[in-house]
Amino acid sequence: MLCQFCKVKEATVHVTEIADNKVKKVDACAACAKEKNYNDPTAFALADHLLGLGASQKMEEASEAVGAVSCDQCGYTQADFKKSGRLGCARCYEVFSEGLDSVLKTMHKDVRHRGKVPAALQKVLKSSQLLNRLTKELQDAIQREDFETAARLRDEIKAAKAVA
């Protein structure tokens, strides 16, 4: 198979990427692959195998986005992430968060958790959601100059804050 870019040399780099929801296969020679930034495909073979088609490409983008960052808790680097397709510790999810969503999109239904929440956290989350809602309602009430409602909401916010 000839390289799809120069159409001269034999294609030795084969990458599958997902762009605009379409699966695109790239077959390039080593020189063109390097020029077009499709280098080091072998490092991603494992990730593609583990995480599904297109994950490695997204992961490369994600790791490029964070540059030379390493995790301050476990020392995990972008190269480790790239090579293993795994993260080192809980903190890694913050350190490498940039671009992580596009990786997750290739493997999950959505990028937001909709399942079980630890009981200890449930209370905190509920009260912060309540605070957000009350604050918004307060702003609305002030906007339409409904000061009676605004006063009630202000007291509710004060109470909610005391609990949280």
Binding site: L87, M107, H113, V117, A119
Partner: protein, 374 residues
């Protein structure tokens, strides 16, 4: 105490039954969890792994569901053959069998709740049930998880849910799976269609021992792949629905074979009976495939008064480690000698089986379907 003294013997283990167990051999729900402050096991230093091990083992062992006499051991204390036995019982993964000091295992008497410490994540905990009982398995492991959360703090982010070493397990950390016996769909050559349809629904289909293994004995594992963006209940219900459909397809396939090509069916079952009773060397693969037809024969009522547990027991006892365990040489038994020994065991065990009798045939999906058909 050796794990061998603790495990339920094959004859007893195969007598467990549950809803739809003609087709669904077992149900399992697994959760992945990690400690918030310790690096994940795959990347961490020995000291960190020991820290997680020492923090988690006593907490897991003291779970109410583990009972007063749970089995609890460090992986380096288990000989290779015993680890292999645990893999064949589906209590641990092949990856966990390769672990040593710093990794551990805890499971209860009934073998219904099993926790691996320091596999790929700090905790891989699973609830196992015979037949189709995914909801019950989820409820069990959910309560184990909640009980643990009172004692230890898990890595959790509001956005991403429970944090795992591999982002493929992120969010719920849940893996819902069932083991299915589908000889009808294989014979009817409909199995690939079914697998493709199931794949399209975001579910994976694998062989007997999980990732990358062959579908020996017409046994298939169906499980979810996505763990983030959907609640545990939704995942369980979705798979449950798909499984009920597969059960229906399998029953229809058996019906159709029986109506259109009864001779093909009887030929497979009769030959399986003949070979198992007379062969002098059988590989594990061949044994599994023959036993699959024996089980189908039992399901169809071909063997007078024979419960399927007798075949299921042989499935287990034909596995390499179970076979080695029964031999005086144990792990020094060479694989060709193992095939001879397997054939001997199967000859002896099947000598008491009644001959298949076509006049006894009953259509699939009959009154034996459903729970507690003891």
């Amino acid at each position: 105490m050796s794990v061998l003294d603790f495990l339920i013997p094959p004859s007893e283990a195969s007598r467990r039954n549950g809803p739809h167990d003609v087709i669904v051999l077992s149900s399992r729900v697994r959760l992945a969890r990690n400690l918030r402050t310790v690096p994940f096991p795959s990347h961490s230093k020995k000291a960190d792994r020991m820290k997680a091990f020492e923090a988690l083992m006593p907490v897991v062992r003291s779970l109410p569901l583990m009972g007063p006499d749970a089995f609890s051991e460090s992986m380096d204390k288990l000989p290779a053959l015993e680890k292999q036995i645990l893999v064949e019982r589906h209590l641990i993964s092949r990856e966990h069998a390769a672990k040593n000091a710093g990794s551990g295992l805890v499971f209860n008497r009934e073998e219904s709740v099993c926790v691996m410490v320091n596999e790929e994540d700090h905790l891989r905990m699973q609830a196992l049930r015979p037949g189709l009982q995914l909801r019950q398995a989820w409820m069990t492991i959910d309560s184990v998880d909640s009980a643990l959360q009172e004692r230890v703090e898990f890595a959790f982010a509001e956005r991403y849910g429970f944090l795992t070493a591999c982002p493929t397990n992120l969010g719920t950390g849940i893996r819902v799976s069932a083991m299915l016996h589908l000889p009808g769909l294989v014979l009817a050559e409909q199995i690939n269609q079914i697998i493709q349809a199931v794949n399209k629904l975001g579910l994976a289909v694998r062989g007997l021992y999980g990732e990358g293994t062959e579908a020996l004995g017409n046994i298939f594992q169906v499980s979810n792949q996505m763990t983030l963006g959907e609640s545990e209940n939704d995942i369980v219900e979705r798979i449950n629905k798909v499984l009920l459909q597969i059960i229906e397809h399998e029953q229809n396939a058996r019906h159709a074979q029986l109506e259109k090509k009864p001779a093909v069916l009887l030929n497979h079952i009769g030959r399986a009976y003949g070979i198992l009773g007379n062969a002098w060397s059988i590989s594990s693969k061949e044994a599994m495939n023959l036993l699959s037809f024996m089980r189908l024969g039992v399901d169809l009522g071909l063997f007078r008064d024979m419960p399927k547990s007798q075949v299921d027991e042989l499935f287990l006892r034909s596995q390499p480690a179970h076979l080695q365990l029964a031999h005086p040489l144990r792990d020094k038994l060479a694989s060709d000698e193992r095939d001879l020994f397997r054939a001997e065991m199967l000859r002896q065990s099947t000598s008491s089986f009644p001959r298949p009798d076509p006049s006894l045939i009953r259509p699939p999906g009959g009154p034996t379907e459903g729970p507690a058909a003891a």
